[in-house]
Amino acid sequence: MPDFGGYVREHLPPLEVAGAREAEIIEELALELEEHYLRELRNGLTPDSAWDRVTARGPQWPELGRDLRGALPRAAESREKMPMNSGNNIRFAFRMLRRSPAFMVGAVLVIALGIGPNTAMFSAIYSIFLAPAPWSGKGEMVVLWSRSQGHGMIRGTVDGMDRTRVHVSARDFEEWKRQGKSFQGFAAARQKTVTLNDESRQPERIPIESYTPGYLTMLGYRMQLGRDFLPEEGINGNRHVAILSNRLWRQRFGADPHIPGKRIRLDGEAFSVVGVTAPGEIDNRVEPLWTALTARQDDAGQDDRILTVLAQLKPGVTIAQAQAEMDAIAGRLAGQYPKSDSGWAVRVEPYRNDWLNPRARANLWLLMGAVTLVLLISCVNVANLLLARGGAREKEMTIRTSLGATRGQLIRQLLTESLVLFALGGAAGVAMSWGILRTFLALLPKYAAPTYAPVSLSVPALLFAMAITLMAGVAFGCAPARRMSRADAGRMRFRNRFAKSLVVAEFALTLMLLAAAGLVLRTFWDRTHLDLGIRTDHVVTFEVPVTRDRFPASASIEPFYRELIGRIGAIPGVMGASAVSVGLLDEAGVLPFTIVGRPANPPQMAGFRVATDGFVETFGVRMARGRAFTSRDRPESELVAMVNERFVAQYLNGRDPLVESLTLPVQLPAGRRRIVGVFHDIQNSAQIGREDLPEVYVPFAQVPLRFMALAVRTGGDPAGMTRAIAAAVHSVDPEMPLANVRTAAQIVGERLGFDRFEALVYGTFAGLALVLACAGIYGVMAFIVSQRTREVGVRIALGAERWAIMRLVLGEGLVLAGAGLLVGLGCAWWVGRVVAAALYAAKVAGEAGTAVVVGAVLLGCGALACAIPARRAAGVDPMVALRDE
């Protein structure tokens, strides 16, 4: 059989359709000729004459070509006819990606590094600010605070915390509940620390919350066992009931299913357990145990501001309306009870995020901005990768263009490829975000997670991930696709310029992130090196969980602790021991005082502590004026006090503190207290780095309190002394355990937990950006060098020194990095100001220094990244390079 296929191929003019279609047509025409040939054979012709006959009667090839071209749908028309071509495109895209796995893995990883942190941050923000809370749709939940209008130290904000927000008195709570019309429910709670004691385990000190019946139910928490408090349990005499958190129930009570009805002891009093909460976000609350709150408190007056007040608005009532009503009520109460209520307003605030201080809130949004920058940087990298790959696929594009593919078709195909790439990267990113969320939640300081909604990957977060993936895929796939599909001669040069401008943008973005992270890290560093006013080395602290019935008479308190401190002090290796009424670096309760001879109104406030005489020595407190307490400060001797420098600065207007006297509130022995010493400020606040508060210390012997935190200064490792200290305690009271044993260094570490977390998160994201930016500049420089191998070869052949070649490449890279730095400088300065204002409410020291450091780090890393291609360029063998072409 003659080769009709070859014959047709030889004669038929090009049809201007896809190659595969043309081959089919040739095959079909050849088959037709073959049939004619076979018919002639059947008619009795010899093969030769049959061939002659068929070819002679064959078509006029040029005309047939023209007619076929007219009949076949053009490439452009076929697109119109088949809009659902994308399935093919996607299949093709997968084939192309499989063909270069290194490229695919690299690009998918880079995309995932952008999408992952974004999805994680969005999940956090969604859970905290937007996700429905258990009470959603039934009326807004609000917290009501008393607001001081100019009482001494209670003013302004510190670290973004509003210090004018004050707890509410029992009287105000009752009045608000009676008069407020905007609310459908009211609840009050009070936090305190008690000693938990049950038969089976050692006593421990735990924070608890007492609340009026209905509080947990109002917040939407459910019970796993038993019930919430009954209304009658909020009345005096019936209040000895307790509810356990699921966490405490599992940890301390071994998840005992028969716990309801059993008894526990809190501060020596018996309480019967009535319920256990269901597991969930409630376990993120600090307090693991609740008791019923009664209207009248044993240890507080009607006017003491100790209650947290929570209320649910009626459906449809706004916070502004409730605020207006409460303003009117506060005005009436000030007239009715001028002594306690004049000068106090009411603040109605949303309950949601109330646990979240403004700094943490600012952090969430700033970090969202940070991860957006990371996403942009990673997308820029992907665009660069796509461009570089465009170089490798130039031949393919040329072939496809010559086979009739239009530019639009090429763009569509390339765009599909980048979308497929982004979809894979997005999926990997979502997986990564799950890991990021888990890691961050694990590293988050205790009890910092929301108490009403879980922080997890949710449907909205997944939708968000899909949306940003799609947007990034289109935005960053389009430009390279357009560049690559362009068929003009200047394509290469243009693409290089485009890639370079991407690198500049990348460095500018990275500088912004580094500026923010630099500031956060710098502040963290400053705080870890802050003068706390005490020495934290070689100090161990602990509490003895005494119960209320431990001291039947208050006269027995002071001898107990004196004995305890004496025994501990006698241990070899112990340098000193003391006791303070408030734990190390904990914020003290604030009490009003008056300076003798000064007006009593408005009342002035200061943090109040009781300390034994060894306190100054144990903690290495530095005295500025006068003397510390001594063993001669007895109840019967002159009443004395120590104050800090901040107190002197705030209240004494430059007068000599050592001639002034104070009077303190009623619960203490009445009378004037002479200031005998002034000590250097101690960082006694929940947040290290906060400005110091005015403080008053009084001697323990004159004001014996039941609960004292003990501290021991040791010569050697403080943690190693615990056993000896416990033995000393047992020699005084064989039953008495040690609670909450921690070294001072540990406490400082815990106190800096949030700063550390902040530094870690910002540092991680900025580090990620830095790595991505360096990978970006490396990629572009390596690509440019590979393109210029021949040029470099010529230069070397003509006698250029290797170091000059290196300098050339390095210089080019550094020009890009430097340009990025210049572009980013303004933005970085602005970012620095925003971060400082949002997180530290102030100018941060050493801003300029930080900027110089991060700029240098960025430039240095950029140079390192360029050094590899530069070395490669310098190592080019001119013979090989020239033979290459």
């Binding site: 089919e24 047509i25 079909e28 088959l31 037709e32 078509p59 005309e63 047939l64 076929l68 009949a71």
Partner: protein
């Protein structure tokens, strides 16, 4: 055969679509078979050469009136079989109606019946 007569050509081209569609009514056929069938049914009066058949086939396929598919039969070369689509079937009926009334009119007005 008056294959070079321009009038004849035009007439054939106008009716070609009808002729091809009609051959596919019963079952799918490949290109050569379509040509042979037309020649057979017309008693040798009408025949299509490669040059006229294939452009029309591809045009019909482009319009979606017929659909081509490669079919491999045991022991044979694969061939492209064309079958009528739903749209093709409709067009065939429509063209039959048009051509029917046209030829009827031709017969009457052209006095063909009396010739």
């Amino acid at each position: 055969m008056a294959a070079t007569d321009p009038d004849d050509n035009a007439r054939k081209k106008g009716s070609a679509e009808l002729l091809i569609l009609a051959q596919l009514e019963g079952r799918p056929r490949h290109g050569y078979e379509i040509g042979v069938e037309i020649e057979r049914r017309s008693g040798g009066e009408v025949s299509f050469q490669i040059a006229s058949l294939y452009p029309i086939l591809y045009r019909l396929e482009g319009k979606g009136l017929i659909a081509g598919k490669w079919v491999e039969e045991a022991g044979q070369r694969r061939r492209r079989y064309y079958k009528l689509t739903a749209a093709g079937r409709k067009t065939l009926a429509e063209q039959r109606r048009r051509w029917g009334s046209f030829t009827a009119a031709l017969r009457r007005a052209g006095g063909i019946e009396n010739a």
